[in-house]
């Protein structure tokens, strides 16, 4: 699913099994990024290999392959290529494990849309400035 095809725009991979939340994340981070999304862990890994996203927004509870497994595999296979990973979870005590496994940031559900916007802009820069 490609919302923007601008050649210079950054790619964001959203892995979240709740469709409403996927939509919310999409709405919150806004246009200006190339967005790919998936509802399960296996598919998320394949998409990551295919698109080399700049940022992965990763839920921990995913069907088939858990978010933690996706995180570990991403870090093992593409640790050096500068992919930022933001982990989101409803488990409040999951931040330590996520950071230890290689996440760059942790956001607890429910979250303030502005906080997510701020993190994305800090990691990827303002899409308006890039354009």
């Amino acid at each position: 699913m490609t919302l923007s095809v601008e050649a210079r725009s950054k790619t964001i991979l959203i892995c979240e099994d709740d469709e409403n939340l996927r939509q919310l994340i999409r709405v919150v981070i806004g246009a200006g990024y190339h967005i790919v999304e998936s509802g399960d862990g296996d598919e998320a890994l394949e998409l990551a290999k295919a698109h080399h996203p700049d940022l992965v927004i990763l839920d921990l509870m995913l069907p088939r392959l858990s978010g933690m497994d996706v995180l570990r595999l991403l870090r093992r296979e593409s640790g050096a290529d500068g992919t930022h990973i933001l982990v989101m979870s409803a488990w409040p005590d999951a931040d330590g494990a996520a950071i230890a496994a290689g996440a760059d940031a942790f956001l607890q559900k429910p979250f303030e849309p502005d906080t997510l916007t701020a993190i994305v802009q800090e990691v990827l820069g303002d899409p308006e400035a890039n354009a």
């Binding site: 099994d17 709740d18 409403n20 939340l21 939509q23 919310l24 709405v27 919150v28 399960d40 839920d59 509870m61 995913l62 069907p63 088939r64 858990s66 978010g67 409803a90 488990w91 409040p92 559900k109 429910p110 979250f111 303030e112 849309p113 502005d114």
Partner: protein, 497 residues
């Protein structure tokens, strides 16, 4: 076999000791009595001698009187003779009475009396009668010779009697002494034996009562210190056996209750863990819909959105709000089940209608799944709470969709058979591994669902089964790993329906 009781043993031993002591006392009393008897016989011997001496003196008086009369012819000198002759029968009988218990002595005394009376009759009285007429004749050698013979014979009898009495007294004294010495010896030995027996009895008492009591006390101390495995060797006489058996029984009871308490503690700990797990699950499950509600509300408040977008977002907020409410109802239902307060509002309903409504509701929820419904009869009358039964059917449909993530057909069949209305929901999903099947209806059980990211409280099936059972029905399932599952419920057909 029940052994002889301790009190019986103590009583028996005491009785034996008492008999022994009484025996010893009797022996000593016998010794004293023997000595007394010997003394009495000695006294009697003395009396016999004294009586004999009196008789001897009287015989001497007879002789002396006669001799004086023979020498002088003076009748005045016969006074001692006459007095002695008068006195003699009484004294003789007195002696005979004294020795009457001894035939030998009695015989001697009787012979003595006969000799004395022969002397008086055949010699003394002849002299007294002849002398006044012929003094010379009585003074003749023949006559005195005859008198002397007579008195010699009398004296011999006296000697024999006294000798026999002496021998008898000496023998009896010696026998009394021997007997009393023997009795004293036996008494002292028996006393020593008694003392020894009393000592042994004391030792036996100490061993058979004090020792077990000490063992029980020490075991009780261990028990008090928390060692419930302590046991005493059972057995021992009567009461001791009862005591050790009772102690062991008590220790067993304590151990059993200790284990019960421990398992209760463990159950409490487990339920405590389940409760904190519940709080974790509740907060997690509430956060996902809350994230949508808060997020979209914030977007609606702070960003410019088109009317179409606004409508979409508001629909999401509405749906997630309802999902949140449904979750809270599940938790409240679970709490009510815990308290036993599940409330039903039963009425006559058509289960087919309830199933059809739920299928329609869930049809729009997933584009991956096909819902295939078959109502074999209409109506399917049941006396039940329509909202609760809708909740049950909805739960089964929701599970069938959630646990077949690859999609596929969910087949719902409702039918009436043998007085029962049966609803079954078959999916083509993950299936339930055999080792987990026992826990499917347990509260908060979710199998691999949590790790697989399948949302839920782990309460749906618990509540569903309780609701079905509250309607007098039953609910169960068949499943295998990778083969999908069939969950079914049966409710009694409403009477007259």
């Amino acid at each position: 076999m029940r052994s002889v009781s301790l009190s019986t043993r103590i009583l028996a031993a005491s009785a034996v000791l008492a008999v022994l002591v009484a025996g010893v006392f009797a022996l000593l009393a016998h010794a004293v009595w023997t000595l007394d008897d010997a003394r009495a016989r000695e006294a009697h011997s003395k009396d016999v001698r004294a009586s004999t001496v009196v008789l001897e003196k009287l015989v001497i008086d007879l002789e002396t009187g006669l001799r004086g009369f023979i020498l002088t012819g003076n009748p005045r000198l016969l006074q001692p003779y006459n007095r002695a002759a008068r006195e003699l029968p009484r004294r003789s009988l007195e002696l005979e009475r004294l020795v009457s218990g001894n035939p030998g002595q009695l015989h001697r005394a009787q012979r003595l009396r006969a000799e004395i009376f022969n002397y008086i009759r055949d010699y003394g009285n002849q002299i007294v009668n002849i002398a006044p007429e012929n003094l010379a004749a009585v003074q003749s050698g023949d006559s005195t010779e005859e008198g002397k013979r007579s008195t010699d014979a009398i004296r011999k009898q006296f000697d024999a009697l006294l000798r026999a009495e002496d021998t008898r007294a000496a023998a009896s004294a010696a026998s009394a002494q021997t007997q009393s010495h023997r009795a004293i010896g036996v008494g002292i030995s028996a006393l020593l034996v008694c003392a020894l027996l009393i000592l042994l009895f004391g030792l036996y008492l100490a061993r058979s009562t004090a020792e077990p009591v000490r063992e029980v006390a020490s075991a009780a101390t261990n028990l008090a210190a928390g060692d419930f495995s302590v046991r005493l060797a059972e057995g021992g006489p009567g009461e001791v056996g009862e005591l050790t058996a009772a102690f062991n029984h008590m220790a067993e009871e304590l151990e059993r209750r200790g284990r019960e308490l421990q398992s209760q503690n463990e159950m409490l700990r487990e339920s405590e863990q389940k409760k904190s797990e519940l709080i974790r699950i509740v907060s997690h499950e509430l956060r996902t819909p809350l994230a949508s509600i808060i997020g979209f509300t914030s977007v609606l408040l702070n960003r410019d959105v088109s009317p179409e977008e606004r409508r979409t977002y508001l629909e999401i907020v509405d749906r997630e709000g309802k999902r949140l409410s449904g979750l809270l109802n599940d938790f409240l239902d679970a709490e009510r089940l815990d308290q036993g307060h599940l409330h039903l509002a039963p009425e006559l309903i058509d289960v087919g209608k309830v199933v059809a409504e739920q299928v329609r509701l869930f049809e729009g929820q997933s584009d991956k799944h096909t819902l295939d419904m078959e109502l074999r009869q209409r109506p399917l009358p049941v006396h039940g709470d329509p909202n609760r039964l809708a909740q049950v059917v909805g739960n089964l449909l929701s599970n069938a969709i959630k646990y077949s993530p690859e999609g596929g057909t969910v087949r719902v069949v409702a039918e009436q058979e043998n007085g029962l209305v049966r609803v079954s929901v078959r999916d083509e999903g993950l299936g339930i591994p055999e080792e987990l099947q026992q826990q499917v209806f347990a509260k908060f059980f979710r199998g691999d669902a949590t790790a697989s990211g399948i949302p839920g409280s782990g309460l749906g099936l618990t509540i569903a089964r309780s609701v079905v059972e509250a309607h007098g029905g039953r609910m169960d399932f068949e499943s295998g790993r990778g083969e999908g599952s069939v969950f079914w419920l049966e409710l009694p057909v409403a009477a007259g329906g």
